[in-house]
């Protein structure tokens, strides 16, 4: 069987059901085909909701270059997932959790920042987080988002000395996301002097 042609026919994101529908075969046969395609490097596996296996099929044997992007790091470590229309790879160095949080805030995207809140539970090196935040002038924003994350998820306590250093950062831009603020988390906003873009309801996704 020409597996490259098969991969070309099945190109994209598939499940066992969709493969069996497209090819008009039994699910058992579809599993066997995926097994063969995987052996020939045409398949990568991801997991959808309820642990459903999704097969990313490409007719070209891909050389994976670089390291996972912030989207992949978030998807691996946070309860809130992100979907991008493109594949993002980072080349200079592997992204750490701390760097990913800072990069997520830099995007100024509501969904990305919301998903990155889950990463605070994985932070091990608070001074590293501080270093990256300071470098990008995001000290207060990161500090405020840490406090927001603490309201919904179990997060390790930040070293008090680091917290004070975060609090000493200058406020250059008050908005985490331009022109977006909410009426919830007023106490956090007052302490950190930045506007939190989330409402309490936005964070329910972490409680589900």
């Amino acid at each position: 069987m020409d597996y490259q042609k098969l991969a070309k026919k099945l190109q994209g994101l598939q499940t066992i059901s969709t493969i069996s529908k497209i090819l008009g075969i039994k699910k058992r046969t579809a599993i066997n085909y995926v097994y063969e395609l995987r052996k020939k490097d045409y398949v990568g596996t991801t997991y959808g909701k309820r642990g459903i296996r999704m097969y990313k099929i490409s007719p070209v044997k891909r050389k994976i270059v670089g390291y996972p992007s912030l989207y992949e790091v978030i998807n691996k470590n946070s309860k809130v997932g992100l979907v991008t229309s493109y594949e993002y790879r980072v080349h200079n160095s592997k992204l750490s959790i701390e760097e990913t949080i800072v990069k997520a805030v830099e995007t100024k995207s509501f969904r990305v920042i919301l998903a990155s809140l889950g990463l605070f539970s994985k932070v091990k090196n608070w001074s590293k987080l501080y270093r990256f935040a300071k470098k990008n002038n995001l000290g207060r924003k990161i500090g405020a988002l840490y406090d927001v994350a603490r309201t919904v998820i179990k997060v390790r306590k930040m070293d008090l000395r680091i917290r004070n250093r975060f609090l000493k950062n200058k406020v250059k831009e008050k908005y985490v996301i331009p022109n977006l603020k909410s009426k919830d988390f007023k106490n956090i906003e007052k302490l950190w002097r930045v506007y939190i873009p989330f409402r309490k309801a936005d964070l329910w996704v972490y409680k589900e």
Partner: protein, 228 residues
């Protein structure tokens, strides 16, 4: 000639040297290397949307030992009439062609940017890789035989969405530098007949009809297909 690893190393150097974030789109053979559809390429084609970004990369390349090339190498059709020629930076084994918004007679449209399949971050240098469909469409504007082989290879390897190619050729015609469905029809016909590429008959017929329609429209408006 450079391969993917060398290209990645060059991009890393650019990313390290740049002081601010610069975004660009990679097209042609370089883009094909990201898709593992080509082993090596002679020139790295980058398209920028901001002139400032282009100049920054040009400066970095200059500082890294690349020199400007003054005389043009005729790759694209209509080189004689275009005002937007690329900045060519020549190194020991490779050449960087830096375009600003337009790739000779092609415009980097918003739809092309939406179809970007891969994004690679090299520090401050962000490189977006255009979709295989757009690579094929861009190849149809060139005159090199090698580009036909590349396009045939893409057709062989990828499940090409022909609708996208047809729509983009019309979109480019609207943007106003040529009657792209005509170029595309000639190109696809060559691919099918000479290189035995799997171009569906319906696609050829549809392209021919669109090309005829667009030619009639252009003639009514008093525009020529190719200027001399």
């Amino acid at each position: 000639m450079i391969n993917l690893n060398t290209q990645l190393e060059l991009f890393k150097i650019i990313g390290k040297e740049l002081k601010e974030k610069v975004e660009c789109v990679v097209i042609g053979g370089s883009a094909m290397m990201f898709y593992n559809a080509k082993e090596s390429t002679k020139d790295v084609d980058l398209v920028f949307t901001k002139k400032n970004d282009l100049n920054k990369v040009k400066e970095v390349l200059y500082n890294s030992g690349f020199g400007p090339r003054k005389e043009m190498i005729k790759i694209f059709r209509r080189y004689e009439v275009t005002e937007n020629t690329p900045v060519m930076m020549v190194g020991k084994d490779t050449r960087f062609d830096l375009f600003l918004n337009e790739i000779i007679c092609f415009r980097l449209s918003s739809t092309m940017l939406q179809r970007v399949r891969e994004v690679h971050e090299f520090g401050n240098f962000i490189v977006k890789v255009v979709s295989p469909e757009d690579i094929i469409l861009l190849k149809c504007a060139t005159e090199r035989a090698k580009d036909r082989v590349d396009a045939a290879e893409l057709i062989k390897r990828f499940n090409i969405n022909w609708e996208i190619i047809l729509e983009e050729s019309l979109n480019q015609t609207k943007l106003g530098k040529g009657i792209f469905p005509v170029f595309l029809y000639e190109f696809l016909l060559e691919l099918k007949e000479d290189l035995k590429a799997e171009v569906p008959k319906e696609v050829l017929n549809k392209t021919m009809k669109i090309a005829e329609r667009e030619m009639i429209k252009a003639m009514k408006k008093g525009k020529l297909v190719r200027e001399k």
